[in-house]
């Protein structure tokens, strides 16, 4: 017997993790850009702050929304970048999914639990900086591709 059509007292599960709260807020300067960080992970919040003092920000601000994804235990894979018109996305497998919209000046990302503090500082943070400054694909070289199909080697 199946349940009746009347709605059950439950909410639709958040399978995409779209609604994970990111209550921790931090700010730092990246060159002339003021970056506001929102995250659910204290380690990310403290890492982006450390050693990030810089000159007075003069450019428009940028928002990073970074979700630590507790369900993803995969290791990082080879990076892959897709670039489009005023957007870019970067994947290193399920452990690292990032997208940037340069019009709205927002970067969002999911980071798996296998990315420890050292990996975040040494590999991910530099990528986030380069994406924010719009120069990820040239840094990543051969693994990058633009969405109009031309490898960005």
């Amino acid at each position: 017997m199946t349940p009746s059509i009347d709605p059950q007292p439950m909410t639709v599960p958040d399978l995409l993790k779209r609604f994970v709260p990111t209550p921790l807020k931090q700010q730092f300067r990246l060159g002339s850009i003021e970056v506001a960080v929102e995250t659910n992970d204290p380690a990310i919040a403290s890492t982006v702050r450390a050693g990030e003092a810089g000159p007075q920000a003069t450019g428009p601000s940028f928002l990073w929304k970074l979700v630590r994804d507790g369900d993803v235990r995969d290791e990082l894979c080879e990076p892959m970048v897709i670039e489009g018109d005023r957007v870019a996305a970067l994947s290193m497998g399920p452990a690292c999914l990032i997208a940037v919209d340069y019009n709205s000046r927002e970067l969002v990302g999911f980071l798996g639990v296998a990315i420890d503090d050292r990996t975040f500082t040494g590999r991910i943070l530099p990528l986030l900086r380069r994406l924010t400054q719009g120069r990820a694909s040239c840094e990543l070289g051969r693994s990058a591709a633009s969405s109009d199909g031309q490898p960005n080697a």
């Binding site: 017997m1 199946t2 349940p3 009746s4 059509i5 009347d6 709605p7 059950q8 909410t11 639709v12 958040d14 399978l15 995409l16 993790k17 779209r18 609604f19 929304k65 979700v67 994804d69 993803v72 894979c77 080879e78 892959m80 897709i82 489009g84 018109d85 957007v87 996305a89 994947s91 497998g93 399920p94 999914l97 997208a99 919209d101 927002e106 969002v108 990302g109 999911f110 591709a145 969405s147 109009d148 199909g149």
Partner: protein
Amino acid sequence: MPFDERFAIAGTNCLVRTNCRAVLDALDGWRNTNGEHPRRSFELNVLVRPSGAPPGNRSPHFRGLGQWVFAIFGPGELFVFDLLRLSVAAVVSRQTAEEAAFWRTVLVPLSLGVMGTAMGLVPLHCACLDFRGQGLLIAGPSGAGKSTLAAELARRRFSFVSDDWTYLEFERGQLHAHGLFAPVKLLTDAPRLFPELNSLKPAKSLNGEMAFEVNPNQWFGSRVRSKSNPTWLVFLERTGQGGCALEACGSARAREFFLSSVERLPAEWSKMEARRSEIIDAVAARQCWILRYGGPPQVAAEALADLCERTFDDAVHRPTAHDGP
């Protein structure tokens, strides 16, 4: 990208750009041969990598935040959906590019599932059959038997539109229900009900379930249509007893059912949510029934065929309160 082509998919105009012709050929069934120019449109940009690992066994991974949805089906592959720009960017292996079934049964439904609401094309979890040009939507909780009943109706005088997901939109003020020429998915006990499937073997479907995925035209002799005009809405409820009973259902109850099962949207997408609610209101304003049955699907199919026959004239000529903007 050296290749590009427009396709008419479920009331949308999909521009595909790629460096591999196999991707375009996989979408052959949606080639825009009748010159339709739907006003809703989205882009699919697919870069095929000449080398790289094939996807292996697919265990999809999905995440979404703000305007973005990510999908990964295998190593070295990525799909990124941008709900703001209504575009999909993808990098895939050559093996995936050449796997026509992946594009038809996974990527196209996924693209409309993820971006449909942003285009005013609402994906609802229901089957759709067509009876003399009028649509019968069959909804109900998981396990209620929507696909089985859709298959049984397809064996009769109903045309098949969809058995799982149906895409609803207003076009020129009229509600339309679209399907994707997807196969009917039946569970492993299907040959007991449909002996014509005895020669088939079930296979693992995308969600890992073993199932028969069959073309309703080939196996049930049903005409397959890409769309219909929803006229009847029936909710299925399986009971422990045999028999079959139809009961009228109020539109408020129908509306609640759909609203409780659609994807949650972020607060910043409130306009999109309002548009979705309008379409759900219009669906709920159809002639609406609850069908409770506990016997074989033939009994329920007979009851629905009788309902459609009996109420056809009334349903077709009856003005509907919620036809669209």
